[in-house]
């Protein structure tokens, strides 16, 4: 029984980590869908989302000391909820504007150039955002002030679910539903889907391609900002380089799900998150099964967690480059 509980616990931790990857992966996959390129700077938009949230939270703390509220009474639940929503929305709006600006300045002039040119520019934008943030706020990590009280939710038996983890999973579900509605039910969503099939035909039908691309960037960046704040709620230490690894892992998630496919990005993100947590959680068992691991890594395997996503990426690209839900795209000469 304890084994089952432990497994469920790991699964749950994995799902909350995976939700973050999924939120970031959506930005990669949507931009890839309309523009066919990897927006390398997406991880840094996520980082800036966390920093914007940090700034807004500090602003709120000037008036309302949120950490003195007790979330159990209805009396304090409302202000906590409202403040969290304000922080989230503020960061999402800021990052949406940022995403659109990046696209306008750095990517739009390169629309008809080789993809590699755009990729190099994106790497440049990513490095620039990291280092300019580092210049303004310093390289040392900052403590994100508490938005919701982080504690275990009661009444779940041996299972420990932190309120921050619950917040991550619930917010992710809400955001996904919204995204689904936007992509499937609105005209802009229809235009996005059309653009990913055939941009030329799309503009011939009277769609303003530039507007749709801007909208895609705004949507993706807003989701990344939400992910940044949700992460900061759970592990309240933010630094200017925090976007690097989650960015790349989310990219792997997008590729795993089939890049360009929205459902795929979510599934891929959850898989990567769960896999990472399970490998770390069961590293001792793993090392017992494969004794050579003991010799190579006497300090334990948990340090290897960052390499897992890359290994997954390499395996997918070798055996199924289109990902789980991806379609095969023929190269036209």
């Amino acid at each position: 029984m304890a084994q089952v509980i432990l497994f469920l616990q790991q699964l749950l931790n994995g799902l909350s980590l995976g939700s973050i990857y999924a939120l970031i992966a959506l930005g990669y996959t949507m931009v890839y869908g309309v523009l066919r390129f990897i927006n390398f700077a997406h991880g840094d938009v996520y980082m800036l989302g966390a920093y914007t949230g940090f700034a807004i939270t500090n602003l709120i703390y000037m008036f309302i000391p949120l950490d003195q509220f007790n979330a159990i009474s209805r009396h304090s639940f409302v202000p906590i909820f409202v403040c969290t929503a304000i922080v989230m929305l503020g960061a999402m709006i800021f990052c949406a504007i940022l995403g659109v600006t990046i696209e306008r300045i750095a990517y739009r002039p390169l629309r008809d150039r080789p993809r590699l040119t755009v990729l190099i520019t994106a790497i440049g934008v990513s490095l620039f955002l990291q280092n300019i943030t580092q210049f303004f706020v310093g390289a040392q990590p900052q403590a994100f002030k508490q938005l919701i009280p982080v504690r275990a939710i009661e009444g779940l038996g041996d299972l420990t679910v932190l309120s921050s983890q619950a917040a991550i999973i619930i917010s992710t579900i809400v955001l996904m539903v919204f995204l689904r509605l936007i992509v499937m039910k609105t005209k802009l969503g229809l235009a996005m889907r059309a653009l990913s099939v055939n941009p030329t035909a799309c503009s011939l039908m009277g769609v303003n391609n530039g507007l749709v691309i801007s909208f895609t960037f705004a949507l993706g960046s807003a989701l990344a900002a939400a992910a940044g704040i949700l992460v900061a709620m759970d592990s309240p230490s933010i630094n200017p380089l925090m976007g690097n690894l989650p960015g790349i892992k989310a990219f792997v998630a997008a590729v795993l799900g089939g890049i360009g496919n929205i459902t795929g990005a979510v599934v891929g993100g959850l898989i990567i998150g769960v896999l990472e947590t399970l490998v770390v959680g069961y590293s001792n068992e793993l090392a017992n099964w494969f004794p050579f691991l003991h010799y190579l890594f006497p300090n334990g395997l948990s340090q290897l967690r960052d390499a897992i996503a890359f290994a997954v990426l390499i395996i997918i690209l070798l055996f199924k480059p289109t990902g789980i839900f991806g379609r095969v795209e023929r190269e036209k000469v």
Partner: protein, 372 residues
């Protein structure tokens, strides 16, 4: 073009001859310039070898620092463990050579001088490092070079990070503590010697039949395949040669600083080399060499500028005009990545062929020489 190359060759030759006499200086300001010169040599090797992959073959690799790390750690381990073991095996009290030479005591006076032994050790370590890096290049290249463009970029980035994470976790290599290398043998002679060899081999490859293969892969992979060219073979060759020289650069670095940390070979180190290649012009060896020199000196100049009185004065004036309290502006000048990232963006927006590169020209030259 050929004149530029001749002038460059002359400069390298001069440095080379100068280096023959030069030992590592102890005086601090001389040591500083010596340091910059050695770094120029190492960066030239890195940039020229990456240019073979990114420039001539058109495959965008973001993992050059990974191969450099393999070379550095392999060469460091050679000097730390393997070479003393080998010497003990040959010339220790029960060693093979000692045993063979025992009946001939007069031969024992021809002991190898330390200087020669050190240089020999450096060369063997460098070849060893290069060889292992080439093996790593082969292991990475064969699976990943079936991918194209941005996918390849991410996969090479991933491999670079995997190599770094592995080193970080292998206790034998010092893990996060870093590894000290016992012999700091690197000197100008070998640094610029190996740089010259790297330039020679890369140019030789590019101007051979292989070079035609590299260029066709870059210019139009589908057409190349349709003409029956084994594109994967050419990509792997370029990748392995590039990795080999990255490994030698790593060895020189290891034997220069005498201390290695996994953090020294992170993604940003790869970016440094990529910026050199892009600034110089992908597919222009002369340009890339000049860019490597420029980008080694530029951060030093900026750092010097950051420590002048001019910067605080400028900041004061600026804060008088705009009512925002800025962090010290020295930070902007001392962080080379701000400069590099802006360089990347601006180059791609305005001059994607690089400062000195002329991709169309090189293509024309190939066409004309092929028709002869």
């Amino acid at each position: 073009m050929s004149r530029a190359r001749a002038i460059l060759g002359g400069v390298l030759l001069f440095l080379y001859l100068f280096a023959l006499t030069g030992e590592r200086p102890f005086e601090s300001h001389l040591a500083y310039y010596y340091d910059i010169l050695i770094n120029i040599g190492i960066n030239v090797i890195l940039a020229v070898s990456l240019n073979l992959v990114n420039g001539y073959t058109g495959q965008f690799s973001l993992g050059h620092a990974g191969f450099m790390a393999v070379g550095a750690y392999a060469a460091g381990s050679w000097t730390n463990h393997l070479s003393p073991g080998l010497i003990n095996f040959l010339a220790g009290s029960n060693g093979m050579l000692t045993f063979v030479l025992k009946p001939f005591p007069f031969l024992q006076q021809f002991a190898i001088p330390t200087v020669v032994a050190d240089n020999l050790d450096l060369v063997i370590a460098t070849l060893f490092g290069g060889f292992l890096a080439a093996l790593a290049g082969l292991a990475v290249g064969i699976p990943s070079l079936r991918l194209r463009g941005d996918y390849l970029a991410i996969v090479t980035l991933g491999f670079g990070e995997i190599i770094r994470t592995l080193i970080l976790n292998i206790d034998f290599l010092g893990a996060a503590r870093g590894m000290s290398v016992t012999g700091t043998y690197t000197n100008m002679f070998w640094t610029f010697g190996i740089a010259a060899v790297a330039v020679y081999i890369v140019l030789g490859l590019v101007n051979s039949t292989y070079g035609r293969g590299f260029l066709t892969v870059r210019d139009d992979e589908v057409a190349a395949e349709a003409m029956g060219i084994n594109t994967t073979k050419y990509k792997v060759i370029a990748f392995v040669v590039g990795a080999f020289f990255a490994g030698t650069a790593g060895s020189l670095f290891a034997h220069y600083t005498g201390y290695l940390t996994p953090e020294g070979f992170n993604f940003f180190k790869s970016v440094d080399v990529v910026v050199m290649v892009i600034l110089g012009g992908m597919g222009s060896t002369t340009g890339v060499i000049l860019a490597a020199i420029l980008l080694t000196i530029l951060p030093e100049l900026l750092r010097a500028l950051a420590h002048t009185d001019f910067v605080p004065a400028f900041q004061k004036a600026l804060e008088g005009v705009i009512p925002i309290h800025l962090p010290p502006l020295q930070g902007l000048l001392e962080n080379r990545l701000i400069l590099y990232s802006l360089l990347l963006i601006i180059m791609m927006l305005t001059r994607p062929q690089g400062l000195f590169g002329d991709i169309a020209g090189s293509r024309k030259r190939v066409a004309s020489s092929a028709s002869k």
